[in-house]
């Protein structure tokens, strides 16, 4: 008969913290944690002491003082009488505008190039390789500067558009002329495009801390509503197709649902375009898209597209050849194979590194100051910081904002990633 022998229970001794493997890892972790906490506390204390020594307090009230400076490119109303917080918002929106368009263009371009790089066509494949290697191996700042210099040095000055009386009499044409039915003017400062105006707009709603442009939001609501209604229509059509085998004709209903409400609304509000015209030194009226914005967006898109192309290529190569061979065997043509078989599977591999590229692009917008683009770094981290002398506050606030933007992009992309992942059921 076997005897159950108890393992002798040692009483706990201090030396076991080091010599006993059961406790050692805890000991090390706790010691490191304490050291780390002490170091952080020391850094904070040091900062506070230095600030106190310089007679500076940590406060953010400067955000509500008059800013006093002007910003060239603004998406929301701003004058030099607005406060620094408003300037921050203007900069933030400028940052987001570049990031938004940059991500879209970079994705379109990157996916196209990544797919084309795998093309069986030798010339196209090599050209795309050259593109990728050229763009990702030269610093981004140089691309931004190059794009900007090309835009501002090769385009005509506003006064080249002027037709003087003598020129009209002599029948001479001006040195430069507007494009697309005389509605768009590209000068060495920016691109002047027509602005949408409303004779009977809905005005703005003042919420105290910000004002809402009701016209804009109303149109947005109608467009979103139309798209939703159209989706319902298509879903109903699909349901009927599955139930009866006949798909009802929907194309004219779709067009009606998508466009009629918006057009009716635009006509009702007296929509018309304001065409830019040369007045004094510059074009007046219309919307000025500064070259700094264009250069930054174009350069960021081209640069990031090179990285996205490589990610897409890697994603496609990760799908086993058997998949495309099977598709070919079923008689699918190469582009259908790519769209229906390869890309949907490759997305699983592509999306996680793609998130990083979006984050990079967003953070790289802070290079805008090199081409005089006043983004968040230019307003809050540049002029506001300088005029108020609140370096620490401005820097911390800026870091917090960039962090928040990045985390939001990450969260949204992770949600999308979940939706395209393999579903294990």
């Amino acid at each position: 008969m076997a005897m159950a022998t108890d393992v002798p229970k040692d009483s706990f001794r201090l030396s076991m913290l080091i010599y006993d493997t059961r406790y050692r890892s805890y000991t090390i972790q706790i010691v490191v944690l304490v050291l780390f906490a002490m170091a952080v506390a020391w850094l904070l204390n040091n900062t506070a002491q230095n600030l106190a020594a310089r007679g500076k307090e940590f406060d953010f009230t400067f955000l509500w003082q008059r800013a006093g400076y002007d910003i060239g490119q603004q998406l929301i109303p701003y004058t030099n009488d607005s406060n620094h917080f408003r300037a921050l918002l203007v900069g933030l929106l400028n940052t987001l505008a570049v990031a938004f368009w940059g991500c879209i263009f970079a994705t379109i371009l990157g996916v196209t190039i990544g797919v084309l790089r795998l093309s069986r066509n030798w010339l196209i494949g090599r050209l795309m390789t050259v593109y990728v290697e050229l763009f990702r191996n030269i610093p981004l700042l140089l691309w931004i500067l190059l794009t900007y210099v090309i835009l501002s040095e090769t385009t005509p000055q506003p006064r080249d558009f002027r037709v003087t009386d003598e020129m009209a009499a002599a029948g001479e044409a001006p040195a430069a002329s507007m494009m697309i039915f005389d509605t768009v003017a590209v000068t060495n400062r920016g691109t002047n495009i027509p602005a949408p105006l409303f004779e009977r707009g809905l005005g703005t709603l003042d919420l105290g801390f910000m004002s809402l442009n009701l016209t804009f939001w109303a149109i947005l609501a109608v467009v979103v509503g139309s798209i939703w209604a159209n989706r319902r229509l298509l879903a109903a059509a699909r349901a009927q197709q599955e139930a009866t085998g006949d798909r009802p004709v929907t194309w004219w209903k779709s067009i009606l649902i998508l466009f009629a409400p918006v057009i009716v609304m635009l006509v009702a509000m007296g929509f018309h375009l304001e065409i830019p015209e040369l007045r004094g030194f510059n074009f007046a009226g219309g919307i000025l898209v500064a070259h700094s914005f264009t250069a930054l967006t174009v350069a960021l898109s081209l640069y990031t597209a090179a990285f996205i192309a490589e990610i897409v290529r890697a994603g496609i190569l990760a799908i086993s050849r058997g998949q495309s061979e099977a598709a070919f065997a079923l008689g699918l043509r190469p582009n259908r194979t790519m769209n229906l078989i390869i890309l949907p599977q490759a997305l699983r591999v592509i999306i996680p590194p793609l998130i990083s590229q979006y984050l990079n692009l967003t953070k790289n917008t802070s290079l805008g100051i090199a081409v005089s683009y006043l983004d968040l770094r230019g307003t809050l981290g540049g002029i506001t910081l300088n005029q108020t002398g609140r370096e620490l506050e401005c820097m911390l606030l800026m870091m917090l904002i960039y962090l928040t933007i990045s985390l939001i992009i990450s969260a949204v992309m992770n949600m999308y990633n979940k939706s395209v992942q393999l579903k294990a059921r």
């Binding site: 310089r54 400062r189 006043l374 300088n386």
Partner: protein
């Protein structure tokens, strides 16, 4: 990786903490070198010449301070700073003194915790335009695109000027003088605005200087001067009195060429005190008695420095104007050295 960054930050903070409280004069003496915050390159005021030696109106003041403190006008290290980085460089102790066309304003004096110890150039903000633009007054600039350097007082003055005159403009905010010049010359902006002296200096370096005019309006007061950290009065005194010594030398006709001669023959008690022949003026400030004499011998008096770097006859070609001595109708006035 994380650890390296952490220890780097730790070391940097310790360094800053160590510097902040110390007396700058002792630091400079111990180091044997003056670190002077300078412009990134503004011809006539502070820019490296073809052989890499720094030269200019502001640079000479740094050299004079080095001559006063260390006895050698060449023991200066120039750290180029932009409009944005200059005050942080000074506050963090990266430079000992900032002589870089910096405007003395209330908020810089109070909020930024800096001390402007003197005004070595009385300036004002102006506009430069191309001649063929056909503009003769800044008030005709309605709707113009204006290039402006970020991190300067000129941004605020510009906004105020256009608002007061009820005219509009489109600002193009650029990082430094060279980028502003490039955009202005490319025609990306109609006008370039900064301190009038800076405009003259920029124009001097342009290939077609005669095609650009500086408009007559001066829209602000821009007293430019050397800056030190708040709370180190001794060092502030040294910088201030180095500058005043150069002014007094001009007033008394002491130049770099005749300083020994004057010292031997003068009967003027203030000149004797200035050159260290009587009294213990240098010692009162923790310096040698002939400290100011060395500065004058090395870089010359205020008038010499002015005419050599930016005065009439140089490419910058600035008149003395407000910067003439008070005895000649200007504003440059030194307290008595006694």
């Amino acid at each position: 990786m994380k650890k390296t960054v952490f220890f780097g930050a730790l070391a940097a903070t310790t360094l800053v903490a160590g510097l902040a409280g110390a007396a700058t004069l002792d630091d400079v003496k111990a180091r044997g070198e003056l670190i002077c915050g300078s412009n990134t390159g503004l011809t006539g005021f502070g820019a490296p010449d073809a052989s890499g030696n720094w030269a200019g109106f502001d640079v000479d003041l740094c050299r004079a301070i080095a001559a006063v403190v260390l006895g050698d006008a060449t023991k200066v290290k120039f750290v180029p700073t932009t409009g944005e980085t200059r005050f942080t460089a000074l506050q963090s102790g990266e430079v000992d003194v900032l002589v870089r066309n910096s405007t003395w304003t209330y908020s810089r004096d109070s909020e930024l915790a800096l001390d402007f110890v003197a005004v070595n150039y009385y300036d004002g903000q102006g506009f430069m335009v191309k001649k063929d633009l056909g503009v003769s007054s800044a008030k005709e600039l309605d709707g113009a695109t204006v290039c402006i350097q970020t991190g300067t007082t000129t941004e605020l003055n510009l906004a105020d000027f256009f608002k007061q005159n009820n005219i509009s403009y489109q600002p193009v905010t650029v990082a430094d003088d060279s980028e502003a010049q490039r955009q202005y010359l490319a025609g990306a902006c109609d006008a370039y605005t900064t301190d009038a002296s800076g405009l003259a200096a920029s124009r001097a370096t342009m290939p077609d200087a005669e095609n650009h005019i500086i408009l007559p309006e001066i829209i602000s007061k821009e007293p430019l001067g050397p800056v030190v950290r708040h709370g180190d009065s001794q060092w502030g005194d040294v910088v201030r009195w180095t500058f005043y010594a150069m002014l007094i030398a001009e007033e008394k006709g002491v130049t770099s060429a005749n300083v020994e001669e004057v010292l031997a023959s003068t009967t003027d008690e203030e000149v004797k005190r200035l050159l260290g022949a009587s009294g213990d003026m240098g010692a009162k400030m923790g310096l040698d008695n002939d400290a100011f004499k060395r500065a004058i011998a090395a870089v010359g008096n205020y008038g010499e420095v002015f005419s050599r770097n930016i005065g009439e006859g140089t490419t910058i070609n600035l008149a003395r104007g407000l910067n003439a001595l008070w005895t000649q109708g200007g504003l440059q006035y030194a307290p008595p050295l006694r």
